[in-house]
């Protein structure tokens, strides 16, 4: 084998990215910079948006083979392997394990009617689904787009990776971006749909929940939800296992690892590989813009759904329920609950809605997992 200088230089040049960069990749690099900016400076859900944006950056630098599958006994690219955790549906349930271990379902147990709000705030999922169908998306795609309205990242990633893999990056980015934008999206709708009098309502203090109730809760939820809807088992099952580890009080070391190192490792891998699917040619399509629009629709109608049922409960309870806690039913824990708190205090400085909003807030996580399970049962496989 002999090497000539010219040939070597040519080889390197051909292997460099300059000859290969497409305009789509260039645009995607700019998009990734914008996302990095939003993650770091605007603090838009940075734990996921930052890895997603970096994955997008890496995937759109030409000729890296990071996503190449193995072939001819040659190993595949790094991101190909890390992506298997999404492909095989492993990462989102592990994220849910950690979230379960971090979540206190006490406020929900103390006022189980919060679950109604957690159901109503899935309204936007179905509105966006209908709109997507009307725009010509397939049912599988429409379901994945609709689930953005669940305001729950891992659920959206889980469903989309099963039903409409090629939309994964657009949907994940939309979901996390809008979750970060909750403090901008929700307040106008909240003020529009509620009266000053409604917003001023101070709610009764929640009763204390016993340790036993907290331990029994994840078991009941697992059994009931999985019975009614077996397809939610990976999400609800892991969420509730995490919560049981937490509430049992006897396996602290497992609970701590689930809510720290394990979820952190998975978050890095999940983020970077979701982002790496946003390759220019596939991402830069009218579909992506539609998804962004439909995602906003979904968030708005989920908020509206929660608020309207909140108003109904205000009316039924004779004014004891502040309808502002309804919008927290979209999930986006704990941001949506904080928005309820802030709006409540604007109406009445002595109003502390945070704990009351946490009930619908965590109910919303269950609600969107259930909605995802329904879609999977209908359109999966």
């Amino acid at each position: 084998m002999t090497y000539s200088l010219g040939e070597t230089i040519r080889k390197i040049w051909e292997l460099s990215g300059f000859t290969a960069l497409t305009w789509q990749e260039l645009v995607m690099l700019l998009v990734s910079f914008v996302l990095i900016y939003l993650a770091i400076v605007k603090k838009f859900e940075p734990l996921l948006l930052l890895p997603i944006a970096f994955g997008m950056l890496l995937a759109n630098l030409p000729m890296t083979d990071l996503l190449a599958p193995p072939s001819d006994g040659q190993a595949g690219g790094l991101l190909y392997y890390l992506y298997q955790g999404i492909e095989l549906g492993i990462y989102p349930p592990l994220i849910f394990l950690g979230i379960g271990a971090m979540t206190d379902f006490g406020p929900l147990i103390a006022r189980p009617s919060s679950l109604f709000l957690g159901a109503a705030a899935q309204f936007g999922i179905y509105i966006a689904f209908m709109a997507a169908i009307a725009l010509g998306f397939t049912p599988e795609e429409a379901a994945s787009i609709g689930i953005i309205g669940g305001a729950d990242g891992p659920t959206a990633i889980w469903l989309t990776s099963k039903l409409a893999n090629e939309l994964l990056p657009a949907i994940a980015i939309a979901a996390y971006s809008y979750m970060a934008l909750i403090p901008m999206i929700q307040p106008p709708l909240m003020r529009l749909l509620t009266t000053q009098k409604e917003r001023e309502v101070k709610m009764e203090q929640l009763r204390e929940v016993s340790k036993l109730e907290k331990i029994v809760f994840p078991i009941i939820v697992t059994v009931l939800c999985t019975f009614l809807l077996p397809s939610v088992a990976p999400l609800i099952g892991m969420l509730m296992l995490g919560n049981l580890l937490r509430e049992s009080g006897v396996v602290d070391r497992l609970s701590k690892t689930a809510q720290n190192e394990l979820i952190n490792i998975v978050t890095i891998f999940l983020g970077i590989t979701v982002g790496s699917k946003a390759v220019g040619e596939k991402f830069l399509q009218p579909k992506t813009l539609m998804i962004i629009g439909l995602g906003l629709t979904a968030f708005a109608f989920s908020t509206i759904g929660g608020l309207l049922l909140g108003k109904l409960m205000y009316w039924i309870s004779g004014g004891k329920i502040n309808p502002l806690i309804g919008s927290a039913g979209v999930s986006a824990v704990p941001m949506a609950a904080r928005v309820s708190q802030v709006e409540g205090q604007k109406a009445n400085p002595g109003n502390y809605l945070l704990m009351h909003a946490m009930g619908p807030n965590v109910a919303g996580v269950i609600g969107s997992a259930v909605a995802a399970g329904i879609f999977y049962a209908l359109f999966g496989k």
Partner: protein, 100 residues
């Protein structure tokens, strides 16, 4: 899929979400009541602070200091704040007591 089909999915899907979550609400309420009913009478759980009578108490806002000077307490709070990463303003100490 037609518009009408998708409307059916909306009605049916959202309905099913409600069914599941209402069922959950019912079962949890039931469970809470059951647990309440079978719960043994609560013994007074809070143990009185032992041998605290002879200890001089200093008050520091809402914080009880028992046998500890304010400066020392502040140091402890600063250390805890620093190590736990929780800003001092968000930490809630109920009391700091010297162990004798």
């Amino acid at each position: 899929m037609t518009f009408f089909d998708s409307l059916i999915i909306l009605v049916f899907g959202l309905g099913l979400v409600f069914v599941v979550l209402i069922a959950l609400c019912g079962v949890i309420s039931l469970e809470s009541k059951l647990l309440e009913a079978f719960k043994p009478k609560k013994p007074a759980e809070k143990k009185p602070v032992e041998e605290a009578e002879e200890v001089p108490e200093a008050t520091c806002g809402e914080l009880k200091l028992i046998g500890v000077e304010e400066k020392t307490a502040a140091m402890i709070m600063a250390i805890v704040s620093d190590e736990s990463g929780i800003p001092l303003s968000e930490l809630q100490f109920k009391s700091i007591k010297a162990l004798d």
